[in-house]
Amino acid sequence: MGYEVEKINADTDEREFINRLKAGDRGAFEQFVLENQRLVFSYCLSRLPSREDAEDIAQESFLRAFKSISSFRAEASLRSWLIAISKNLCSDFYRKKKIDSFSFDAFMEEGGDLPSESPSPFETLESSETRKLISKAIDNLPDEFKEAFLLRENFDLSYAEIAKVLGVREGTVKSRISRARGFIKSELIKSGNFDEFISSND
């Protein structure tokens, strides 16, 4: 996927980068934002009703990260920590506005409030019926399954990162994602759309 995520393999490099962030190094923070802004913004966009809200919460996520970097323990990757911050802020957003939690189905129906030139995630799907079935199946997943599944599918987080974001064990993430996929598959089979979906080329 296209998230320009910092690939720091050596622990020492990452530690040094975190130390620079903790020291209030402006350059390090700029790099941190540059590398993660698309991920954070896209994540917020997937959870919030408008681009404007997504920008606000994405900004707020970085501000909060900046303010609390001193308490970052480096047990998780920086970006999973960042997504965990965004996740909490998105939840706060709905708590504050007293809006029902987001509906993936509604989000997809409305194209997620994306401008028309942005392809919807389902644009490549064969038929609108299949598209609806899949988004409905995703929406019918229990929240904790849906969250793990979408963090994997939409945002390319590793199991370890998802585990940190959700505060669960890696094994739990693994089985939630697998079961989410199994559930979507069974819904397609039940509706008789599975064969069409599996045999189509794109």
């Binding site: 402006r26 994405a58 490549t124 693994k174």
Partner: protein
């Protein structure tokens, strides 16, 4: 049939979470198991269809963000250049007393807000009354005698009736407002200059008629719990040569928060900050 063990492994395989040995084991199994192979094809296809291209935030995302962050050395440097000393040495005492009044106001606000609300029925007088019942002490009692005879003349009867509080309470709280506002007003009328800086030290607003500001400000403030300790969006600074009072302003969509430095008291104004300031600006131009 689909094998549960391999169903999980297929998921992990496509997510890049399998070890080399596990991968080998899975591939070997898939060769002889069409159901599991089909599951692999399904999961792969589903993932392809679900992956979204990352969205770009607006081009000025970084710039706006960095402007909201205060990097200490940078901030200090800019403030040194931008901050204009507005009072001369002689007016130090005046500046100090101004600060005292403002700080006093911050402590007094639970009561003040009570008064304001009881005077304005649309501001949910009853709720305010409940809140203020719990407030027994205030620094304001020291600063402004509550039994000042001239204040006692303020019409207690109608307010008390509207807000559902005893005439005695109403009288007491009513007596605070005019004295405080006029005290602030007098000081600011003589020394009306203050400026508003953003967190980088850039001046964003200059006030030339302080009395109105305080008037409006006080009529809309009420106490709120301390907000998170982010850098403020704006700082309102009263400046003297040897003295500086800093009020931190945190903005939200429909409200802003005011903090006096070193004080825990937070005040919330249920107004959009930009609108509020531009209204004041018009006010100043008119006056």
């Amino acid at each position: 049939m689909l094998h549960e063990k391999y169903e999980n492994m297929i998921s992990e395989y496509l997510d890049g979470e399998l070890s080399e040995a596990e991968e080998k084991e899975l591939i070997l199994h898939l060769e002889g198991c069409p159901d599991c192979a089909e599951h692999l094809a399904f999961v792969k296809k589903l993932s392809e269809n679900l992956s979204i291209a990352p969205e770009e935030p607006s081009p000025d995302f970084m710039e706006r963000l960095m402007n909201r962050l205060a990097f200490e050395p940078f901030e200090e440097e800019k403030k040194e250049n931008k901050l204009i000393k507005l009072f001369n040495k002689k007016s130090f005492a005046l500046a100090a007393s101004l600060a005292l009044v403002i700080i006093t106001a911050l402590f007094a606000l639970p009561r003040l807000s009570y008064n304001m609300k009881s005077a304005a029925p649309q501001m949910r007088a009853e709720e305010a009354a409940d809140e203020s019942k719990n407030e027994k002490t205030s620094a304001f009692d020291v600063a402004v005698p509550k039994d000042s005879p001239e204040d006692a003349a303020i019409d207690e009867g109608s307010e008390a009736a509207e807000s559902g509080v005893s005439p005695e309470e109403s009288l007491k709280y009513s007596s605070l407002e005019p004295s405080l506002i006029s005290a602030l007003g007098d000081i600011l009328a003589e020394n009306p200059a203050f400026r508003l800086y953003d967190s980088f030290g850039n001046m964003v607003f200059e006030n030339t008629a302080g009395a109105e500001l305080i008037d409006v400000l006080l009529s809309e403030l009420y106490e709120d719990e301390k907000k998170e300790t982010f850098e403020p969006d704006y700082e309102l600074i009263f400046v003297a040569e040897d003295f500086e009072l800093k009020l931190k302003i945190y903005t939200e969509d429909k409200a802003f928060y005011v903090y006096a430095e070193d004080f825990d008291k937070a005040l919330r104004v249920d107004r959009n900050f930009s609108e509020f300031m531009s209204e004041l600006f018009r006010l100043n131009l008119d006056s």
